[in-house]
């Protein structure tokens, strides 16, 4: 019976499957049914997961439906304006209480027998309550199932089902600096970002870890995107993005192995001018040049740091720069992933800037994006070709850049958190992916958060 503890793997077998130190990871963890079930219980039922952005539900009574692991959740603002997150399933017979993607309501009425729940999850309406139930039903115990912890971090909404999970701040740890590269306004002010209306949602026939590890720091798959680089869709009309600022910067693979988070980051020279960007659109170029100067003023040396794609463990991928997006990779069985994609802009950027970015974002990203179409193709057939009896006997290779990282990165007096592999010369490494699987194995082995020493 596929109950809570079914098929759980002891540390031993996991250690054999995921040997990070030697850079070997078994294909089993991508294709095995049993490992997948354990992931649902030990990763997705415990970890902090990304749900959406506060700008999707500005007013009390606004709600949007999101997903945690395989399950549907309601994210809404209660009457008091607090954001609440509930399992989208009635306590009576489990009916999916809300089948709309978003809207505004005072309560959620179940269409099966009519139990209704307030925006605070309380069971407020029960047909024939007095006559049929009398004292039998203790309403207080039968409200919607709420997440154990919820966090609104700079407008992004996160939650976990596990009350013993570390606080969001602990869970985020030193990664804060890098996540903020996405969430702070371009001019360096805290927060100040919003999402463009409309979330891309689509199905990919691969295990959720393919996109998660790819975004965590795969600088190596240039071949995947050579065709788009040839035709050019970038903000300056060439390539995928503006490379000027990258080319003059140090390339850093930043990982927090004890947290599982990572990002591709860049560090500008301490003494270089701004590289030109957004040359297809003067207004946009002006806006960002202005923002950069503001940011420099506000942040000082830290201004030199800018980000690329990354993954916040387990399945949230911020992309801090070009294009500026955030993705969630929802598991849908071991062989399928449902991808959700949000697009971010500075809330108070001029309309022309938002419009320009929106068009760039969608021609780059997701199933219609010239760039990512090829990622999907590769994840699809990499997964499919790894399922076989023979294939599963051969591990994937994560040796690239083994043993080259430092925990004490410093550049002209600027220190950066995380275990950092400078790949300016190497071009790429699998440092971030190794960090991802280090944390993955830790959660998969542990019976509970208690066993996991917080850094």
């Amino acid at each position: 019976m596929s109950g809570p503890t079914s098929g759980s793997l002891d540390g031993g077998s996991l250690k054999a499957l995921v040997d990070v130190d030697r850079g070997m990871v078994s294909r089993e963890i991508f294709v095995s049914e049993a490992i997948y079930r354990q992931e649902l219980e030990r990763v997705f039922a415990r970890a902090w997961l990304f749900l959406g952005h506060q700008s999707q539900i500005p007013r009390p009574g606004d709600y949007v439906v999101s997903s945690m692991g395989e399950e549907s959740v309601i994210v809404c603002r209660d009457a008091s304006g607090r954001i609440r997150v509930f399992l989208n399933s009635c306590r009576h017979r489990g009916m999916k209480v809300c089948r709309y993607d978003e809207g505004h309501t005072v309560e959620f009425q179940c269409p099966y027998h009519g139990w209704s729940y307030g925006t605070d999850g309380a069971l407020v309406g029960v047909p024939f309550a007095k006559d049929a139930y009398g004292a039998q039903l203790d309403r207080a115990r039968w409200g919607l199932i709420e997440v154990a912890q919820m966090k609104n971090y700079k407008g992004t909404i996160w939650a976990t089902w596990d009350s013993s999970a570390p606080s969001f701040e602990e869970y985020l740890g030193g990664y804060k600096l890098y996540l903020d590269l996405l969430l702070d306004a371009w001019d360096g002010r805290e927060g100040g970002t919003e999402v463009i209306g409309g979330t891309h949602k689509w199905l990919i026939p691969c295990n959720w870890k393919f996109p998660a590890e790819n975004f965590s720091g795969d600088r190596y798959h240039g071949v995947s995107h050579r065709s788009v680089d040839m035709v050019g869709i970038g903000p300056s009309g060439k390539g995928r993005r503006d490379m000027g600022e990258r080319n003059q910067a140090r390339w850093l693979d930043v990982s927090f192995p004890d947290l599982g988070h990572s990002m591709i980051a860049f560090l500008r020279p301490h003494d270089a001018p701004l590289a030109p960007a957004y040359q297809d659109a003067p207004i946009v170029a002006d806006y960002f040049r202005h923002c950069e100067e503001e940011r420099k003023r506000r942040r000082g040396a830290e201004w030199r740091l800018f980000g690329g794609p990354g993954t916040m463990f387990p399945n949230t991928s911020p992309l801090a720069r070009q294009p500026r997006t955030i993705a969630a990779w929802h598991p849908r069985g071991p062989h399928q992933t449902e991808a959700w994609r949000w697009y971010l802009v500075d809330a108070d950027a001029p309309a022309e800037v938002k419009d320009f970015l929106r068009q760039y974002y969608i021609r780059y990203s997701g199933p219609s994006g010239l760039t990512e179409q090829d990622d999907m193709e590769n994840w699809n057939y990499a997964h499919a070709a790894s399922r076989g009896t023979i294939a599963r006997q051969y591990p994937y290779n994560y040796e690239m850049g083994l043993g080259r990282a430092t925990s004490a990165f410093e550049d002209h007096g600027l220190t950066l958190p995380g275990v950092i592999n400078d790949v300016t010369e190497a071009n790429a490494s699998e440092h971030n992916q190794r960090g991802f699987y280090t944390r993955w194995r830790q959660l998969m082995e542990a019976e509970s958060w208690g066993e996991i020493a917080t850094p």
Binding site: G198, R358, Q359, I362, R363, P367, N380
Partner: protein, 176 residues
């Protein structure tokens, strides 16, 4: 239709439009993408909004808005051209080997005819099969504005309404 035009005129016009759309389908499915591009005006707009599940009485929330929200496609001729070029590189892996695509076009209607433009509606079932068993069905409606440019019809606007919310395909490398 313009009031004065006779039933026969209208019928001949519709036939022209139908032939145009069927020929377009041939160009696409025969992978003659450059010739397909020529069917678009220089100022063409090609748009496929996203769709949400919303209450019946809030239809205005169902589609993402043009020019403001995200969408599946929001293209001018320039990006369409880049998409075609990408396929022709031969290393656009998502279309290598090339998909077997079939555009079943139906319900062609000429809604309105102006001197140089017509509003046309049609429906599509786009079938994609590739590699071994990979198969997708994409079904929906199109609203076109066709313009007569020195004697030939050209696509000036195309709005594509896909009848899906979560896209049931890994990517959208085909055209509609």
């Amino acid at each position: 239709m313009s009031a004065e035009s006779s039933p026969l005129d209208r019928l001949l016009l519709k036939e022209e439009i139908e032939s145009f759309l069927y020929r377009e389908a041939d160009l696409l499915d025969e992978r003659r993408y450059e010739e397909w591009l020529e069917l678009f005006t220089e100022d063409a707009h090609y748009w496929m909004p996203l769709r949400r599940n919303v209450p019946r009485d809030e239809p205005e929330r169902e589609f993402t808005r043009q020019g403001v929200d995200a969408s599946w496609f929001d293209e001018g001729k320039d990006t369409l051209t880049r998409r075609v070029r990408q396929i022709l590189t031969g290393i656009h892996w998502a279309e290598e080997p090339p998909s077997r695509i079939c555009h079943i076009i139906s319900n062609v209607q000429v809604m309105q005819a102006r001197p140089a433009e017509v509003d046309v509606r049609s429906r599509f079932l786009v079938y994609r099969n590739r590699v071994e068993t990979e198969t997708d069905f994409l079904v929906g409606k199109r609203e076109d504005v066709l313009r007569r440019v020195n004697g030939d019809w050209r696509i000036a606007r195309r709005k594509i309404v896909l009848d899906q919310s979560v896209l049931l395909a890994k990517n959208l490398t085909m055209f509609f």
